[in-house]
């Protein structure tokens, strides 16, 4: 996706999930899930460049220019994501 051309937004690398930790959205994968993922060919150590097997819980936030969070959509079920329209509506309501 990055190679497809210039992105109109920043894609930032949160190496080691330090920022995710400050948002309190860390997910430490349990051992049996890790084994399952390895069986699927998903190796988070290879993807993340470190072996903590930690992921961020997916989250979308709208932050006003004072730095205050005005909308937060976080779901432990990572198959559930907010509709982009909902996030944009939150932005437009500022």
């Amino acid at each position: 996706m990055v190679e497809a051309g210039k992105l109109p937004f920043h894609m930032l690398r949160d190496q080691g999930n330090a920022l995710a930790a400050r948002f309190n959205i860390l997910n430490h994968l349990p051992g049996d899930l890790k084994q399952l993922y390895l069986g699927f060919g998903i190796d988070l150590e290879a993807s993340n460049g470190e072996d903590s097997w930690t992921l961020p819980v997916p989250g979308s936030y709208v932050v006003d220019s004072n730095g205050t969070i005005r909308y937060a959509s976080v779901d432990a079920d990572y198959t559930k994501r907010p509709e982009p329209d909902e996030t944009l509506a939150a932005l437009e309501s500022l």
Partner: protein
């Protein structure tokens, strides 16, 4: 318009059809554990200050959240990447 979630649900349904029951059970248990952890220790939400950050972008250029906020509000999406 429920476009995105419909697509995600279709992907999930296809996976559930093919995956062994034990795999589904392991994933479900892990999600339940995470639901409980988040209930005990919720993440940042409305009214909380966003932690400031300075992180590299796809070109390795450091991006400072204070510079971004000086230009206006932000939409921030946290998700699993593959580097």
């Amino acid at each position: 318009m429920a476009g995105l979630q419909q697509k995600l649900d279709a992907i999930r349904a296809r996976f559930v059809k093919k995956a062994p029951a034990e795999a589904i059970e392991t994933m479900h248990r892990a999600t339940q554990q995470l639901v409980e952890e988040l209930a005990r220790a919720p993440g940042l939400g409305v009214g909380d200050p966003m932690p400031s950050f300075r992180l590299p972008d796809q070109d390795g250029t450091l991006v400072d959240s204070n510079d971004l906020l000086a230009r206006g509000p932000l939409v921030l999406s946290m998700y699993r990447g593959h580097w």
